[in-house]
């Protein structure tokens, strides 16, 4: 790849000014590192994965508002976690985490358990018991 072949596509909402290093050949055939503004291929692939998180998060939020799931489910998706990872982070067994995703069981949780979840998810206990009314902007 020559220096002028390094992708320099304008994908501002993806790169946000972050330039990725690329190795390319200069005029004399010597390798140099060239910062790349972005590449549409990268952007597309990244958006696929990113949208997937977004969809999961939004589905969880709607399920919580409909009373099918507990707010824990929403924050778990928000932090890209699974019950296993959340359980390890909060020090609670995964099967208990899965139970706590049910709203009626979540409503009866002790403050100490809520505190452990809030700490693991980097939010406050007050935030943990509700979900945002509107989809998160990003």
């Amino acid at each position: 790849m020559k220096i002028n072949e390094v992708p320099q596509d304008d994908v501002p909402d993806y790169s946000e000014g972050i330039k990725k290093g690329n190795y390319a050949l200069d005029d004399k055939g010597k390798y140099v590192m060239v910062p790349s503004k972005g590449w549409v291929v990268d952007e597309m692939i990244n958006r696929m994965a990113y949208d997937e998180y977004k969809v999961k998060e939004e589905e969880a939020r709607k399920a919580v508002l409909a009373g099918q799931k507990s707010p824990l489910a929403y924050y778990m998706e928000l932090r890209q976690m699974t019950p296993e990872i959340l359980g390890k982070t909060a020090g609670i067994a995964a099967f208990r985490v899965k139970r706590h995703l049910r709203p009626e069981i979540f409503a009866r949780l002790k403050p100490s358990v809520l505190g452990a979840y809030a700490n693991a998810l980097a939010i406050t206990t007050e935030e943990l018991i509700t979900v945002p009314k509107n989809p998160r902007e990003r």
Partner: protein
């Protein structure tokens, strides 16, 4: 390049690099007065690799790695250039953070393995649950740390709470607060010996691991899987799996084409070092292999974009990857022969 300083006021020059771990290792050696480039570090540390690990799924995505496991490059380079280093992991996050602060106070710069999701200085698009990102902590500042992340152009600040979460995030490939630094280096390291060791090691890793998911065998395994992927999965799922591969190949800071261009850059430097025309021609061959990988990415993206409506098919993408496997096999066998003839 940006000028920074450590806790004791010692100057530190931040360089932009393509890949996190090789960038970190190169910065460590520069800090100790041995000027060594990122591709050189990548080659000596035997960074080039291939592995397909469908059973490890951070954030629901299968791992296809084009480099050796996180942490290996630093350890191998430090050993091969006869530097003394410290590697530590912690069970207790508080203890891990306290020791980090203590080491920083002595003016030492410290490398950390972190989880990308909790590094808030990245934009949200880059953050996902993957515990394998390396960075350098320069010094403690008010409420946080000054960080030299080699994949960024300039040093950044990171709050202490975020850094602690990033170091001790749970899930696949846990870092356990993995912390490492160089204590001393040999001011005149034997680069030629180290290059030979690195290249031999890479050949073994690519050719001789008797498991079907690593090295050349791994590329063939994955290529065949892609060819027959639509028999097993529906179109959406197949596209998703293909996108995961491209993400590891191009999106995650590889210097282009899954580190293949970076390795070509290493071979070019090595060719100058040894005055070897054979290494120079191998470097050109590696560049060509890089082009083939890039061709694969482009075809794969077209498949994903047009959902199999164009003439590009999964069989074609898999075929391109098989071609990469064949070329790399010939390449590494040739490299093996060339390395044997090199003199230290």
């Amino acid at each position: 390049m940006t000028l920074e300083s450590t806790a004791t006021g010692k100057p530190f020059v931040h360089h932009h690099a393509a890949h996190c771990e090789s960038g970190v290792t190169s910065a460590f050696f520069r800090d100790k007065g041995v000027d060594i480039s990122e591709p050189m570090v990548f080659g000596i540390g035997s960074g080039i690799f291939f592995g397909y690990l469908p059973f490890i799924k951070p954030a629901g995505m299968t791992i296809t790695t084009f480099r050796s496991q996180p942490g290996a490059i630093f350890r191998k380079v430090a050993k091969r250039l006869s530097g003394d280093f410290v590697v530590k992991t912690y069970r207790n996050p508080q203890k891990g953070m306290d020791e980090l602060r203590q080491v920083l106070k002595t003016g030492q710069i410290v490398g950390l393995k972190t989880n990308l999701y909790w590094l808030t200085y990245f934009s949200e698009r880059f953050r996902f649950n993957f515990s394998g990102h390396n960075l350098i902590v320069l010094r403690e500042i008010e409420n946080g740390f000054r960080i030299s992340d080699p994949t960024l152009e300039h040093p950044v600040d990171c709050p202490a709470a975020d850094l602690q979460r990033a170091r001790f995030a749970r899930g696949p490939m846990e870092a356990h607060g993995y912390m490492y630094y160089l204590t001393s280096v040999n001011p005149n390291p034997d680069l030629r010996q180290a290059c030979i060791k690195g290249m031999k090691d890479s050949c073994n890793l690519m050719l001789r691991i008797p498991l079907p998911i690593f090295g050349i065998r791994g590329i063939r395994f994955l290529a065949r899987k892609i060819i027959s992927i639509t028999e097993k999965f529906d179109l959406n799922e197949a596209c998703r799996l293909l996108a995961d591969i491209i993400r590891w190949l191009e999106d995650t800071g590889t210097g282009g084409a899954g580190f293949r261009y970076m390795y070509a850059a290493f071979l070019q430097e090595a060719a100058d070092l040894f005055g070897s025309a054979e290494l120079a021609s191998l470097s050109e061959e590696m560049t060509a292999i890089g082009h083939d990988w890039r061709e694969f990415s482009l075809v794969a993206t077209r498949i994903i974009k047009q959902r199999n409506k164009s003439e590009e098919t999964f069989a074609k993408a898999g075929g391109l990857m098989l071609n990469c496997a064949n070329r790399e096999e010939i390449f590494f066998k040739r490299l093996q022969k060339v390395v044997r003839k090199l003199k230290t």
